[in-house]
Structure formats: structure tokens, C-alpha cells
Symmetry: C2
Subunit: 332 residues, 2 copies
Amino acid sequence: LKKNLRERGFVEFLRAQAGFRPPQLRLGIGDDAAIFRPAPGFESLLTCDLLVESVHFDLKTTPPWELGARAVAASLSDIAAMGGLPRAYLVSLAIPRRGALSKEFFKSLYAGMRAWGESFGAALSGGDSSSSPGPLLIDIFMLGEVEKGRALLRSGARPGDLVFCTGSPGDSAAGLAVLQGKLKNPDKGAAAIAVKRHLLPVPRCLAGRFLSTQSAASACIDISDGIASEAHHLSRESGVAIDLDADAIPLSPAVRALGKNALDWALRGGEDYELLFTAPPSKLGLLERDFRGRTGVSLSLIGRVKRGRGVRIKRHGKWKALADGGYEHKFF
Amino acid sequence: LKKNLRERGFVEFLRAQAGFRPPQLRLGIGDDAAIFRPAPGFESLLTCDLLVESVHFDLKTTPPWELGARAVAASLSDIAAMGGLPRAYLVSLAIPRRGALSKEFFKSLYAGMRAWGESFGAALSGGDSSSSPGPLLIDIFMLGEVEKGRALLRSGARPGDLVFCTGSPGDSAAGLAVLQGKLKNPDKGAAAIAVKRHLLPVPRCLAGRFLSTQSAASACIDISDGIASEAHHLSRESGVAIDLDADAIPLSPAVRALGKNALDWALRGGEDYELLFTAPPSKLGLLERDFRGRTGVSLSLIGRVKRGRGVRIKRHGKWKALADGGYEHKFF
């Protein structure tokens, strides 16, 4: 057992990376805890996302700046899915002893984190670090805020509601397939677009804010593990059935150009960080009129909420049960 | 690259472990984020503590219940050192693929976390998990609260202030030495006490609250890496010198019985989770009169704050510079 961490060198390094400090952050890196002053009338949102080398990313295909951005994007996306404003985050790093990672690597990693965090209002506020005999591991803990009672939950979908998704899910999985060399002679332009979408996902914070401030969604979740898995989450938490229309699921031209797997990538692929949400039909007019212009992201009506349970999908004119969790992993 | 986590099985397991849910926690495990309602007039405290197998703990000598308690104790201690009230925490777990860890192991781990968390008012509120090709890794993110402007910082020590520590630092390091078999024929009673102090450290939350609510401390830090390292932190952050008196550092009878290293354990050992703080002489009466009775923990006056920089210690009648960070670790 070796003692480790919290060493001054790393804290000084971190302080130099901190940058942006919003007024709500009363105290950032360097004490026993960061101090954040909550906005009156708001509730706090707490989330964390763990990224493990060789499980969630491969250093051979992910440059450190993009790795930092993606790590923060995962938590920003959780706050977005709650309809909240990202405010502050802490970063825990387990750093492999094998020592191939340079100071420049970490500067670049934090620069990527900061670029994504600051773009959406979240300040690097602290963290912890340790050496590790294992892989590089990044854990982001994010604090967000949302007006009292306005958070978008997974549990609010009701029979009769419509099901929407933002953007074009599947791009990220296609980009990963490109990076892993799994596609034969992929179209270069399409490959470049998909890879960018994989490495630099843009969390839908504006979209989440539109939905919460306009009370436009009955339930919401971010698409981190594919539409199938997230639809099952909404179905379970809301106690409803969800019917999806395969033809309505928006696939980007890039993802269509990259393979026959396009729909599977959207249903089963990960890390799109688009939003999947439900809304009562009374909100359709508002969404059609204002969503795109106010959030910058496209919106597609892809299904309906029904009484019952489970998720079905209509494909080639036929209804079929859509299995949950293509990538389910058993710990025990 | 394998897809991972956030699998339903683990979330369901976590929900079953959640237990205590204070009214401020509006939404716990199972959505994209937990929702916490801040108390009016309070600021939020954010901290995280990363524990890595073989760096911070050894599964051969640390039972899972104690491991959970210790992991949460580290964060509780950070909140205590800020003078705050622990409220909620998230747990990220990287779980080794080698699969020697049973469901019972994790039940016990969470039971230990909950026991320590609930004892001080903090609710298990969520987390993330992943498989990992490396060691078991536990990262705790804790949210605490403290009255606006009342947080105890590291930066408030002023020349003329007195330096205090709580309890008996060094016990934990002595206990670790026992567990690692480094002591020859240790006294059995003393060994048992020290091992208990190592495995189940009690964070000084009541002491921290006394200091913040009574405005009794000018600066405060928790002793997680030994008095020497923490005194240097206070010295640096406050821009002052700190003089310590070796004879005044309180060593428990157990730690004295275990070896000649007793003072070194207190100065350089880790994870005591006692508090080291400074206070103006005007607070001495209050501290002598009320501290022990109101917090349950003993208090020792161990030094003085001076103009200048650095940390000195008087030992056998001679002043000597006390080196920083006996266990400093270089990442780069």
C-alpha cells in the first residue's frame, strides 16, 4: 500500500487549468471542498459519469482534448436531460503508473474539459487524483441547477403522449465503427462527419432548457446507450408502453452513407447525447413552431406512448418488440 | 472497446441499497441526476475522494463493510473540515472484471457506506459504475451545506493564532502498520484499538460544526495525510509560518504502546481524519470550556501561527524545519 495523491504539484497544476469562475462559485480548487452558492428558487442536480480506458475510450483513437470534452459532455448531457443549467464540476483521475502520459496530455485533457464545460456554463471546481496500477479512469461529478419543480424526469410519460428525439442518433456509433476500422472503404466525407460526432458530441443543453422552461416535455432522458435502451428506461419509469416508428427515426446522410447498420446504430449505439422525450399532443404546435429556432437542433416525432408496458417498433410495416439493453453487462 | 454499465441490474441493486432519504433529497437513484433542494441561507460544499485498490486499500486486510465506511468517511471529513453538514453523495465504482467480488461483497460495501453516511446526515443519492480491466476503484462525491459565509477555509490563519488538533493523530497509520504485519509482537490490545481506528475512522463533523457555528476557527483542514502535510497546506494557503511543539502533539496510549514511531505516525501517517485548525487567542476560553463537551472529541493546543512561511517543530528543545509531504507522489 502506497500513500498517494492530493500532492501539491497536482493541485497547483489543476489551479492553473481552472480558468472560468462564475460568481456562484465562491471557492474553487485548493481547499477541502468547493463552495457553490445556489440560486434562489432553484434546485440542485447531481450526476456523475465514469469513463474507463479500454471500456469507454481507447487512447489510440481518442486524442486527449477530445477525451476531456467527451468526459464532460456525458455529465452535461445528464443535466440537459433534466432541463437544468450546468454550473460546476469536479474531476477524479486515476492515472496509470506505467507513465506514458505526459504533462502535455493532461493539459490537453483539461483544456478539452474546460472548453466543453465553459461552453455550457460549468466551471472546473476541484477534484481528486491518484496513481493507479490499472487503466486511466476519469470520473466527472457535475452540479447543475433547475427551477424548483421544473426538472424533467423519466417518470412523467402518459398514454397519449408523443415521443420525440433530437438530432440524428447513430452518428456516434458509426464514428466509433470508423475509428475501430470496422467498415470497408467508408465514404471519406461521411466518415469524417461521424468521427467528429463521436469524438465531440454536443450535449443538448439548450434543448433541455427549452423543454423545462416551456413545460413542453412530460418525460426526458438523454441517449447515451441507444434509443432502445433509453425508451425502455422511460417505459419502466413511467409505467407505460412506447411504440416507435422505425421510418421516423432520423438518420443523418453521413450515417446512411456508412452502412446498412444505420438504424441499428441509432437503436443500439451509444454516446449520441441526443434527447429522447415525451410530450402531450397539446405541445406539438409549440414544438413545431419554436424548438428548432430556439435550440439549434432538429426534432423528430418518432413514436407514441400507450397504455401497457415495453417498447415496440414498427419496421417494414410490422410491429415487433424492441429488446432492451443490447449491451447489458452483468457485474454479478 | 466494450459498451458497458448503467445497466438496469445495477441500478435496481443500488435502489435497494439506498435507504435513508432526507426531505431535501427530492429525487434519488434512477434518473439522469439526483435532485437536491438547497436550504435557504446555506451554501453548497462539493468534494470528491478517490480510493484505488492497492494504493489506498488492500482487500486482504480491509473487509468490504469497513471499506465502504472509510470511503465515505474521507468525504465526510472534507465536509467536516469546512464546518458543513453532509447531505448527499454519489458513488462511482470501477469493478474489476476478474470477478472475485460477489454480490454479497457489494451489499456489505454499500451497507458500510450507508452506516457512515447516515450517521452524519448524508444520503446515498446515485452514482455510476463500470467494469474495469484494472483494480477496484471507489470514487465518492459529496454535497454538503454550510451557512453562507461560514465555511472554514485553509486560508484564514493569522500571525498570533493558536494551532489545535482534535483526537489522537497517528492511530490510523499505526493500525495500518499492524495490518501490514510491520510490527514485531505488537501489544494485542493496542493493536486492536489502532486497527479499529484505521478501518473505521470517525469524521469530526460535530467538531467542524462547533467551529463554524461558533466562529471559533480562523482556518481548518482535515488530517488525511499527516499533520506535517496539512500544516504546510495551512501555512501556504494562509501565507503564514506555523510553529509546532512535538511534546504537545497528543499520542494515544495505544499508539505509544505500538512503537517508537508514534510521533512519526502522527506527523506523516495518513487517514486520521482528525481536524487541524487555527484560532485567535480570544477563542481559547470558549474552546477550553465547550469544545470537548459539545463535540465528544478531545482538543490539544499544539502550536502557534507566526509571520513568515513554512512549518517548524520543536523537538527535544530544538527548532527544526518540518518537511512537507512525506509521501509526495509525482505524476509527471
